[in-house]
């Protein structure tokens, strides 16, 4: 049985240096992988650019000699096509748009230098086989990543604001950026409390430990902190986490690399605080007798294997302001280098944080140190996920929890 995976990434990227367009890069990379399944084994071969499928099949057949076991049924009889598209006018010009964005920000805040890049992407991926599997995903989106630095600053960078999505609105983006810069220029002190509500973007590194410990391989082998809590109400009753390939949650294909399409493209891993299951591919689910969630990943020319799930937290009915309930929160904007220990203790420096009332950024806080434990962060100290998004047309919501906060210096 033969199966073909294709992936095309087409992009135009403008790099920005010192408030000016420095370079323009065009890139089109087309990749093809061909898999053969025979006698419970798998062989894969891939190539980029122009592809000779017969040559790939020969190479994939050759790899079968390595007898890499794959006794799982490939996907079959499922034809799904999902197309999403960015909302740009037909005469959209990326260079003109970039200049408009930079001018719009710098005119209002001339004390800042902007750099990094703005890019327009078209992506397409497909997976099809001789058993009637025929999946195709096509998308386009704008990615804006603008680093800012105060002209008087001796740092390489002072902050960053980014957007990646399909619902682009220049005015909204510029207004959001200006709010950040305005808050950056207003220094405020940390409220004198040992524990404060701390607010994160719910797509960031704060989910890293949950992601690694919900991995089916970690759970199946007993290496996960969560193994012994499967089926138990370990976390806060308001916490629900999905493995999501839903195009409304991000910019990922709706199918995994083994061709699985989940209902609504989501699987609940934690529901109302109860740990239901870890995420798995076919092999891990079979080997460790775990529920199958369709979470295989891999490159175009590799054997599908369990990847990292795209975790999506279910938003609550409350805005961030309502979640904070009259308290001021610490919005963690840049936190680089923090980590969890194997046992779930969390510590991180916060290089840039803002004080927020849930609606407004009231000012820039000094550099901070935050710390807690995984089970407290998503358990007794969990406040919730907001119903409002950080950027109205972006994907991420706010995630709030109480934590110990102190000044580094």
């Amino acid at each position: 049985m033969k199966e073909i995976y294709t992936q095309t990434d087409k992009s135009t990227t403008l790099s920005i240096s010192n408030n000016q367009v420095h370079s323009v890069r065009n890139k089109t990379i087309a990749s093809t992988g061909l898999r053969v399944y025979k006698k419970d084994c798998i062989g894969v071969a891939g190539a980029q650019g122009k592809v000779d499928l017969k040559e790939l099949e020969k190479k994939a057949d050759e790899m079968l000699k390595m007898k890499i076991s794959y006794p799982y049924a490939p996907g079959k009889e499922n034809k799904v096509k999902v197309e999403r598209k960015i909302n740009l006018p037909a005469d959209f010009d990326l260079t003109l748009e970039t200049n408009e964005i930079i001018d719009g920000i710098v005119k209002e805040q001339p004390d800042f230098i902007l750099s990094h890049q703005i890019s327009l992407h078209e992506v397409e991926s497909s997976l099809s086989n001789e058993q009637g599997l025929d999946l195709m995903y096509r998308d386009s989106f704008l990615g804006i990543g603008l680093v800012f630095k105060e002209k008087s600053s001796a740092n390489i960078m002072d902050g960053y604001y980014g957007y990646a999505g399909r619902d682009y609105d220049r005015k909204l983006f510029i207004d959001s950026y200006l709010k950040i810069l305005k808050a950056y220029k207003t220094k405020v002190d940390l409220p004198e409390k040992k524990t404060l509500p701390v607010v994160f973007s719910c797509d960031g590194a704060i989910l890293a430990k949950l992601n690694s410990d919900l991995n089916g391989l970690q759970i199946g082998t007993g290496s996960s902190l969560l193994t012994s809590y499967l089926g138990k109400d370990k976390f806060h009753k308001d916490l629900t986490i999905w493995q999501s390939n839903n195009p409304d949650d991000g910019l990922l294909p709706f199918f995994d690399m083994e061709g699985t399409v989940n209902p609504d493209y989501r699987v609940a891993l934690i529901e109302n605080g109860k740990i239901l299951k870890g995420y798995t591919d076919k092999k891990v689910a079979a080997k460790y007798n775990l529920p199958y969630t369709g979470c295989a990943s891999g490159s175009y020319d590799s054997i599908p294997k369990l990847g990292q799930a795209a975790l999506q937290l279910k938003p609550s009915q409350k805005t961030l302001k309502e979640l904070l309930n009259g308290e001021l929160g610490v919005y963690v904007y840049i936190s680089s280098g923090g980590d969890f220990t194997s046992n779930g203790e969390y510590g991180a420096p916060v290089q840039l944080a803002f004080l927020t009332d849930g609606e407004n950024l009231l000012g820039r806080l000094p550099e901070l140190s935050i710390g807690s434990h995984l089970f407290d962060m998503f358990g007794k100290d969990y406040i919730g996920v907001s119903s409002d998004k950080i950027y109205p047309h972006d994907f991420a919501y706010y995630l709030a929890m109480d934590m110990k906060v102190s000044k580094i210096y």
Partner: protein
């Protein structure tokens, strides 16, 4: 090959990357990838902007180049442009890895080398899971430019990495041991090294205690010191962040005191290991560049454009992770020079403190971070017991001034898997190293 037009600067970087990856879980093979990638990155400069294209169609480079010419503006004075004047013009061929090319080693030998130590992991009572990777790559590059440069060279690396998860009741511990070499024959992880690693991991699992958060006198091992140099100061020495920023030029004037007198840090792409490059991705040979010498800012890392912008010389640090990307200013091998103390003398200076033996990762802005894996409490100059620390932090410049002692030997480390990340370009092979470094005070929690 390609015809360059007058009125523009242009260069073409062609690459052939042959790589192997093997992945096992609990001794069972999961994946084998034998990949050949061929492609080119093309740049055109008109004196105002750069125009780039990445392509896998090596048969039609001319039309990709012509498309970029059509986007740029013809500049009859381009040859007088200061950036173009400083562009490399060398013609050379440095194919160092032809006789021992890893791509020509049969896969059976790679399997055999990887599996030869499996018996040490199998049936280990504390191991909940173990995974391992064998990776290698041979990269052949040719760079042509409109100033006449034509260089051809190769790069090579092979690596082995074994990841373990240990478990004792509710407690878990994850770590890895790895080795790297620039040829297959020298790639080795000895049984002794693995046995010691497993014993050390088990000791950490069973005996580690949480550290009371606070400020501690701290010793960094050579590998951790190397990451510290790379993250805390190396990235700040990459001159592209200074382009057009007059304030930064004043702040970062050469000769400025930035650390203690005993501190010297350099970058050198000529050193063997994963930071080695015969030429950078503009076709310039690498140089040994002191970033800090005796505590003073001495130099910085450049591509041609940043060197012209700061009225300095290119250093051979224009690098891209592959033909998909443009070269930007990156490190190669970044090393702290040794001091005068023996390792024992250095430890004897600590009454109560911590020793960071190995880390999971590090980062550096104005505040740097190190996330320790193996870390130990020191009492009266001796390692007392393992401690659990999630992160160690400090201000970069304050810390460079708080170095109290450096040991007398430098050790250099290469990545086996992974590498350095900068913006969208990850992973770039680099190496790093240093001696044991004693710092008077760092925050740990």
């Amino acid at each position: 090959m390609v015809q360059f037009k007058t009125g523009y600067y242009a260069d073409v970087r062609m690459e052939e990357i042959v790589s192997t990856q093997l992945h096992y879980i609990n001794g069972e093979i999961e994946n084998y990838v034998n990949r050949i990638r061929k492609g080119a990155f093309i740049r055109v400069y008109d004196g105002s902007k750069w125009y780039y294209s990445a392509t896998t169609d090596l048969d039609d480079l001319q039309s990709e180049l012509d498309k970029l010419y059509a986007m740029a503006n013809c500049n009859p004075e381009i040859k007088k442009n200061p950036i173009v004047i400083k562009m490399p013009r060398e013609k050379a061929r440095k194919l160092k890895f032809q006789s021992n090319n890893v791509a020509k080693v049969p896969v059976s030998a790679k399997l055999s080398k990887t599996e030869s130590v499996f018996h040490l992991f199998k049936n280990h009572s504390r191991l909940a899971m173990w995974q391992n990777y064998y990776v290698d790559r041979h990269i052949k590059k040719r760079i042509l430019n409109s100033c006449g440069a034509d260089v051809e060279f190769d790069l090579q690396q092979a690596g082995l990495a074994y990841y373990i998860s240990m478990k004792d009741a509710e407690k878990t511990f994850m770590e890895r041991i790895e080795a790297s070499a620039d040829n297959f024959e020298e790639l080795q992880l000895s049984e002794k090294a693995i046995t010691e690693f497993l014993a050390k991991s088990e000791d950490f699992l069973l005996n580690s205690k949480p550290l009371e958060p606070g400020k501690y006198q701290t010793i960094l091992s050579p590998v951790v010191a190397g990451v510290f140099a790379h993250e805390s100061f190396g990235h700040k020495s990459e001159a592209d962040f200074m382009l057009g920023d007059e304030n930064m030029k004043k702040e970062w004037q050469l000769g400025k005191k930035v650390g203690v007198d005993m501190l010297s840090i350099y970058d050198d792409g000529n050193l063997p290991g994963s930071g080695y490059i015969a030429f950078d991705d503009e076709g310039k040979a690498p140089e040994k560049t002191y970033l800090i010498r005796q505590g003073k800012l001495t130099g910085r890392l450049h591509n041609t454009e940043t060197a012209v912008s700061l009225d300095e010389e290119p250093t051979g640090n224009a690098r891209a992770i592959s033909f998909d990307y443009e070269p930007i200013v990156r490190m190669t091998a970044t090393i702290i020079e040794p001091g005068t103390y023996t390792k024992e003398e250095l430890f004897s200076q600590v009454r109560q403190g911590i020793y960071i033996d190995k880390i999971k990762h590090g980062s550096g802005m104005s505040t740097f971070t190190l996330a320790p894996s193996f870390a130990y409490f020191i009492e009266n100059g001796k390692i007392a017991y393992p401690v659990e620390i999630s992160v160690v932090t400090g201000s970069v410049f304050e810390t460079l001034g708080k170095i109290e002692a450096l040991s007398d030997k430098t050790e250099v480390f290469s990545f086996s898997v992974g590498g350095c990340g900068k913006m969208e370009q990850y992973p770039l092979p680099v190496s790093f190293g240093g001696p044991y470094v004693l710092i008077s005070e760092l925050n740990a929690r």
